[in-house]
């Protein structure tokens, strides 16, 4: 099988695995990082080294990295924690949050939860390429707005938002800025020293690190304040209690270090694959690219390509490609067979949204893989269209 679903999950990089092993082995460093004895100190040291590694990829201080169990938790913590610190939920306070319709489910569901607690939320509709412009955001701001949450790179279509231009305007108005960077880390240059983002979510398993590991960047200067969502022993400066899983954290650190070292090579490799696949598949009639194609100067992520195919039914399309692992829409919603809400927000009708595939590439993907996949997709799309009583060739 050719795996082209790296945006859903990635295998551990060999170097990450090697880094983790000493913290997994029964005769290795198994101590609880909070313990105050030899084994504990060793584990703690590894955790702190990893913290610095994660910080280094994004231009942050190590003390600004809070460990979580993943990007879902980071997003929950950022939104709920920021608002709770500001006195939510409490009746009588008008609180307004701005986000977009194309955020990851965990942000949208958290926002809906906040709405049940009296927070008012504006869900901005992107343009046909998935762009939410800074002008659009600023127009939605009210005197009660205290938080904006926007993902840097969209996980389904790869569109890159203009976070760098937006951040200073929000900082000027004292509005907290949260960015979900789960798909952005390692694919885009992120420098939090120069971009005034307050809260940033990170995931390890999108970047060749282990599952179960994530982080939330929480800026210190100016201090972004959060009410903890996980109560207990006061770990992570009181922001997130719970025993730190040393091996997972070490893995995340190693993954981020590798991503920093391999950044240029990775990005060049990935965008080469993306462009090659697009140049093959755009020869098909009736194929639409979801998200920007780079021709108008709008940025798009190097590692994914989302296409809709006219004249074929989505499930049959996927079933006709059993030797290729891809997804349609976000992995989290694949099982429900609903057309992707991201594609619908772009204006795609249900049928076209349903007949779409997200190809996402990784370190191990080769040009040969791309050529093979392209040939197969062209063949199968052709076959399904020929099979259809509705397609006029």
């Amino acid at each position: 099988m050719i795996y082209l679903d790296y945006a859903a999950s990635t295998p551990l990089d060999e170097r990450v695995f090697e880094a983790m092993l000493p913290y997994l082995r029964p005769d290795g460093f198994h101590g609880n990082p909070a313990s105050t004895h030899g084994p504990g100190f060793k584990a703690r040291g590894a955790v702190e080294r990893a913290r610095a590694q994660v910080a280094a990829l994004i231009g942050a201080e190590a003390s600004e990295i809070i460990w979580t169990s993943g990007a879902t938790e980071s997003n929950n913590l950022a939104l709920k924690g920021a608002l709770e610190f500001r006195g939510m939920p409490r009746a009588g306070r008008a609180v307004h949050v701005v986000t977009s319709r194309t955020e990851h489910k965990c942000v949208l569901d958290t926002c809906r939860q906040l709405e049940t607690q009296g927070v008012s939320v504006t869900y901005l509709k992107p343009d046909a390429f998935g762009i939410v412009s800074p002008e659009q955001v600023m127009a939605a701001i009210t005197p009660n707005t205290c938080l904006l949450s926007l993902m840097w790179v969209n996980n389904e279509i790869g569109v890159v938002q203009d976070i760098e231009r937006l951040a200073p305007s929000l900082r000027e108005r004292g509005i907290l800025f949260h960015v979900d960077a789960a798909q952005a880390a390692g694919k885009l240059k992120i420098d939090l020293q120069s971009v005034p983002i307050d809260l940033l979510s990170l995931s390890a398993h999108k970047i060749y690190g282990p599952k179960g590991a994530g982080a939330l960047f929480v800026r210190r200067k100016p201090r972004a304040r959060l009410a903890p969502q996980m109560h207990g022993g006061g770990h992570e400066q009181g922001m997130r209690s719970g025993t730190l899983a040393t091996h997972q954290i070490v893995g995340m650190g190693a993954a981020f270090e590798v991503a920093k070292a391999d950044f240029d090579a990775d990005v060049a490799h990935l965008s080469g694959l993306r462009d090659a696949l697009w140049s093959h598949l755009q020869t098909l009639v009736g194929v639409h690219r979801n998200g920007p194609d780079g021709s108008t100067g709008q940025r798009t992520a190097p590692h994914l390509l989302n296409l809709s195919f006219e004249g074929v039914e989505g499930e049959a399309l996927r079933a006709s490609l059993p030797e290729i692992a891809v997804s349609s829409g976000s992995a989290c919603s694949s099982a429900t067979a609903e057309p992707s809400y991201v594609l619908r927000a772009l204006g795609r009708d249900d049928e076209l949204a349903n007949a779409s595939l997200r190809f996402s590439f990784g370190r191990h993907t080769t040009r040969a893989d791309i050529d093979t996949v392209a040939a197969k997709v062209i063949q199968q799309v052709g076959w399904l269209r020929e099979l259809s009583p509705l397609w006029k060739s």
Binding site: E313, E315, A316, A319, P322, E351, H364, E386, P389
Partner: protein, 136 residues
């Protein structure tokens, strides 16, 4: 970890081997040439429901000499079309009329959540038979 093609599993998506085989092989897919005599065509379904099935039966006297199908829809719908085109071979109009949805579901082991695909098959065949009884 290098990625390669592996041997295809017998049923990678869990459709059941009968549906899977028919979907992949789709024998008798296509249509008879325009103007071919003794051909009746029946179509059911709508693009909005994401399934359309067209069945064509070529008669020799009272019996089906050959059949074709075209389908737009999920693999189960396509398999239904392929199965119908096979099953119809050599059947008389009277025999064709006996087809029930249950028969289709049993033949292809179609689960509850795909029952509508079997209904699609029944409807397409009925539409063809209507034409067979009342050629315009």
């Amino acid at each position: 970890m290098p990625m390669t093609f592996e041997d295809q599993e017998a049923d990678p998506f869990g459709y059941g081997t009968r549906v899977w085989t028919l979907f992949n092989e789709a024998p008798r897919a296509g249509e008879f040439p325009e103007g071919e005599p003794a051909v009746v065509t029946g179509q059911a379904g709508t693009p909005a429901a994401r399934s359309v099935l067209r069945v064509q039966l070529k008669f020799d006297g009272d019996c089906v000499a050959d059949a074709r199908f075209r389908a737009y829809g999920c693999p189960t719908s396509i398999a239904v079309g392929a199965w119908l085109a096979e099953w119809a071979q050599g059947k008389s109009v009277a025999e064709l009329a006996t087809l029930t949805m249950k028969q289709l579901r049993d033949a292809l082991e179609i689960p509850d959540d795909r029952a509508h695909c079997a209904m699609l098959g029944e409807d397409a065949l009925k539409a063809a038979l209507k034409v067979a009884h009342h050629p315009s």
